[in-house]
């Protein structure tokens, strides 16, 4: 049995007096495609943000690729990770945001090549060649020199996916990546993600309200409520015969709101 690539061990996270995660533990295996679903405020996005080191944890341990994410060893003792350690660990992880967060002052290709050139010292020519291949993959090779402001939401999000892929992370985090899109633009983004899920062995964590897509995409679905995993299992089981009452209520509401499952 292979070792987990991500291991949450008794994680606590509070914002002031609000406790979002309280003793959360779960493992993710290499190559696994995980969908995190649940009502707003259940802590799904916080989990991704903690993994990307955008939020610190309040307690517990996280292991990524066999190493502690928020702790390191110093003179035989465990101490909080410093910026250098976080920098090293972030190489394993990429993230796509709900609001794209492209760099508005850089053209599409420069958005993609900036980090490989700066953080990996890739020669520009090589970075651009790989960048063009990635743009080709997301169907935007003709937009390489366009500015982000000239793109539609769906196109921006596909560029953001290419930007995250350019660093060749082992783990990809998708945080409600279609929530900010017009309905007719959702499909083009999901198609790119589905291809990624099918064709790569990257570990992927997906937070979404698109239950139909979660069903197609994921190997395992985790249903969260108030910071706890209420129920988990293969999508076929979770979506067709959830055992927990809260999962049933949640899915009923989602279907009532017009989403397909």
């Amino acid at each position: 049995m292979a070792e987990p690539i991500i291991r949450f061990d008794n994680i606590r996270k509070s914002f002031g007096t609000l406790t979002v995660l309280d003793g959360l533990s779960f493992d993710v295996m290499p190559g696994e495609k995980l969908a995190l679903i649940g009502p707003s405020g259940s802590g799904k996005t916080t989990i991704l943000r903690i993994l990307m080191t955008l939020e610190n944890i309040s307690g517990g341990h996280i292991e990524v690729c066999g190493e502690q994410l928020y702790h390191m060893q110093k003179a035989g003792r465990e101490v909080p990770a410093d910026e250098a350690h976080l920098h090293k660990m972030r190489r394993h992880i990429g993230m796509v945001f709900q609001h794209f967060n492209l760099f508005p002052h850089k053209c599409v290709l420069d958005n993609i090549t900036l980090a490989p050139i700066l953080t990996k010292g890739e020669p520009r020519a090589e970075a651009e060649k790989r960048g063009m291949a990635l743009l080709d993959m997301v169907g935007l090779a003709d937009k390489a020199r366009a500015m982000p402001s000239q793109l539609s939401g769906g196109q921006k999000q596909r560029v953001a996916i290419a930007r995250a892929l350019a660093l060749q992370p082992r783990i990809m985090l998708f945080d409600e990546v279609t929530s900010a899109l017009d309905p007719e633009l959702v499909e083009e983004v999901l198609a790119v993600m589905k291809r990624l899920a099918d064709e790569t062995d990257m570990t992927m964590l997906l937070v979404t309200h698109e239950m139909g897509f979660a069903h197609e995409f994921a190997d395992r679905v985790l249903f969260f409520d108030r910071g706890h995993i209420i129920e988990q299992g293969p999508p076929d089981r979770i979506f067709t015969s959830p055992t927990h009452e809260r999962t049933q209520t949640f899915l009923r509401k989602i279907i009532a709101a017009g989403h397909r499952v």
Partner: protein, 219 residues
């Protein structure tokens, strides 16, 4: 009438001193603005305190008093500056303190999203600032920098107090020698105005350059 061309020449010499002070003072102010403005956002607390002290002190005391200190008091500490050096230093430090707040405000107004994107693609703190944050903050700074530079230009008139013959000083000289107030002061009025137009024009050009392709960033 021949005399007048000599007097105008005197004022033009003063204009050169004013221009020099403005250019060098602005350069120093710019360096101070970025140094102190970024230091105020540094993760290292003593650096933040130092920058804060600089800003509060130079904003909170008059340029007039600062100039006297730089020129007449610093020599007691063994630092003797020429009038031009003293003028540039006082003007640069004074306007730089205002500029530091402009830099800080502009950097803080770049959306949090952009910082998070930088972390997600693993840029270092320096790379973040240099390649993502400052290029977006710069267009927000320029209009206020333009104001500051023009303020500095007009502030140069105080250096006549430390025997530097700038434009205003020369106008006083001409007035004393000819008894005419209108001609020398009309001349420097036009000259100050022309110089400030030049600054404003240059800034507009710069603004156009740095905002190229950046629509959607500024309101």
């Amino acid at each position: 009438m021949g005399d007048w061309s000599g007097y105008i020449g005197l004022i033009l010499q003063g204009a050169l001193v004013t221009a020099k002070l403005t250019v060098m003072g602005t350069a120093l102010a710019l360096v101070m603005a970025f140094t102190a403005g970024l230091a105020r956002l540094a993760p290292f607390a003593p650096l933040r305190w130092l920058a804060r002290a600089y800003v509060e002190f130079f904003r909170g005391t008059s340029i007039f008093v600062q100039l006297f200190w730089v020129y007449f008091v610093l020599p007691f500490a063994g630092v003797s500056l020429s009038p031009l050096q003293a003028g540039v230093m006082a003007l640069g430090l004074n306007v730089g303190a205002y500029g530091a707040e402009v830099v800080r405000g502009a950097v803080l107004s770049v959306p949090r999203d952009q910082y998070e994107a930088c972390i997600a693609v693993n840029l270092s703190r320096f790379q973040r600032m240099r390649h993502v944050i400052l290029p977006q903050a710069l267009p927000l700074m320029l209009p206020t920098f333009c104001n500051n530079a023009i303020e500095l230009l007009k502030g140069t008139a105080v250096v006549s107090l430390i025997s530097l013959s700038d434009m205003t000083f020369q106008a006083q000289v001409v007035r004393a020698q000819t008894g005419s107030t209108l001609i020398p002061f009309a001349t420097i009025l036009v000259l100050y105005f022309a110089m400030s137009l030049l600054i404003a024009g240059g800034m507009r050009w710069l603004e156009r350059r740095v905002t190229r392709g950046l629509d959607g960033v500024r309101p």
